[in-house]
């Protein structure tokens, strides 16, 4: 079931660059705590961007601004050519159905079974879907993460790595075009982490999704990062390919790789 983890640079990528997400001059402060100060980035179709930054540098705030869980003070977030802050609720729902978010804490609904967890986004976004279709999609999503047998268990009955995989399945169930991963491998053992990375790459290859991945994990960075953005002092301090970043002159960037 697990795919062979291939190095990203070996994979061919020939298609012209289509921008799916554009962030310009993003600002966010909590009182006197200025977290994001003029942050800019682009995300192209089919690519993975890894955001690297110290703890507390505002990485989670950044992706929560993208998905609308936190309202930025100013700046532009444009997804599929639509400006997010200008959309009404119905339009926002439509855009958000195309975006997946993997929470740092998984955020599985712990009063629901695994099946209900996976059904939830389906039933919310597709109002006229039949029970039979729901069942098919749920079982397929579980098969993708290799956990078909857990369908009637509760989240509390699973291990940490299994919960992460279920959370991943729930994130992917609506076949999003953009996936935001908040530290997908943090707190997992290296083997499980590798499995998760394998799944992420697998899905990306299968559905040609674009991802923003927040991570401290050097393995994850090396295997998934087409481009890397170093978030420092609230802005996109350095942007480059994996090779460019690991050989970067800036002492602050070098610190990450020691």
């Amino acid at each position: 079931m697990m795919p062979a983890v291939s190095n990203k640079s070996e994979r061919d990528r020939g298609q012209p660059k289509e921008t799916v997400l554009k962030i310009r001059h993003l600002y966010k402060s909590f009182g006197e705590n200025h977290v994001l100060i003029d942050f800019n980035m682009d995300l192209y179709r089919g690519e993975n961007v890894v955001v690297l930054g110290k703890s507390g540098s505002g990485k989670s705030v950044l992706i929560k601004c993208i998905i609308g869980l936190i309202k930025p003070d100013k700046g532009m977030v444009e997804m599929f050519g639509k400006s997010i802050p200008k959309l009404n609720d119905a339009e926002l729902d439509q855009v958000m159905a195309r975006v997946g978010f993997l929470f740092q804490s998984n955020a599985l609904y712990d009063s629901m079974t695994i099946r209900e967890n996976l059904e939830f986004p389906l039933r919310r976004h597709m109002l006229d879907i039949t029970q039979k279709e729901v069942n098919t999609i749920v079982m397929e999503a579980l098969k993708d993460v290799g956990l078909s047998h857990t369908v009637d268990l509760m989240p509390a009955e699973l291990s940490g790595g299994m919960r992460k995989r279920i959370a991943l399945a729930r994130t992917l169930i609506l076949r999003p075009d953009i996936i935001l991963y908040d530290e997908p491998t943090t707190g997992l053992d290296p083997v499980t982490a590798k499995e998760i990375i394998g799944l992420m790459l697998d899905i990306q290859k299968k559905y040609n999704t674009s991802s923003i991945i927040i991570s401290h994990d050097m393995n994850c960075l090396r295997l998934t990062g087409d481009r890397v953005i170093v978030l420092m002092n609230g802005t996109n301090h350095v942007t480059g390919t994996y090779q460019e970043i690991i050989n970067h002159e800036d002492p602050a960037v070098k610190e990450f790789f020691e």
């Binding site: 958000m96 978010f101 740092q104 955020a107 609904y109 939830f120 986004p121 976004h125």
Partner: protein, 256 residues
Amino acid sequence: MAQANSIKAFLGQTGQIFRFAGRFFNQVFKPRYEVAEFFRQCYIIGYRSMPLIGLTGFIMGLVITMQLRPSMVSYGVESQLPAIIGIAMVREIAPVITALIFAGKIGSSIGAELGSMKVSEQIDAMKVSGTNPFKYLVVTRVLATTLMLPILTILSDAISLYGSYIGVNISGNISFNLFWTQIFNNLAYYDVIPAFIKTFFFGFAVGIIGCFKGYTTQKGTAGVGRSANSAVVISSIMIFILDLLAVQITELLGFN
């Protein structure tokens, strides 16, 4: 100084609860209506509370009757026992005790459930899944507590009076029919209706305070415990305040 601060905190919190209630009224009539979740909550909040409310109501009726009986006998008004118990139960004891038990059971569980959903980002996950969590979690629960507590109170009225009937019969002897005839002959609409109406407010208070506490939980598992705890404390106090208001209002309206 410390007192000034805690008064300030209390007033600040009261304001927040009122704003939260305002948000409830703003959202309750707007689609999308979470009908399935509402019925699920009615089942959990109402139906599943019936055994507890029934048991406590029965014991309450039985015990109060046994406690009152000796004094009634010594005054020679033993035959008035059903009438007095009926009025006391229906007007005051059953609504308030039921509401307090309800606050303990339901207020704390709502506070803890929403609190743990908040700190483990499940509420955020709902937003991302195209759901308005305020509607899905708060509106459904508050509606369910508001509508279920009155029903539970009627249940408690009936069972506590039955307990009282048994209490009377432990040392005396009264027929089932006579007991109930005495109770109903002495209960007027103005005994029953205001007591019934105030239970809607009690139920609303338990729901809105439990949801407020859970929904605004601070990070950490300690925060969840604190939310559950203060949901019970604040809604219990609120029940007494509302009860006081209710008696004043019924008096002003001349229902006495």
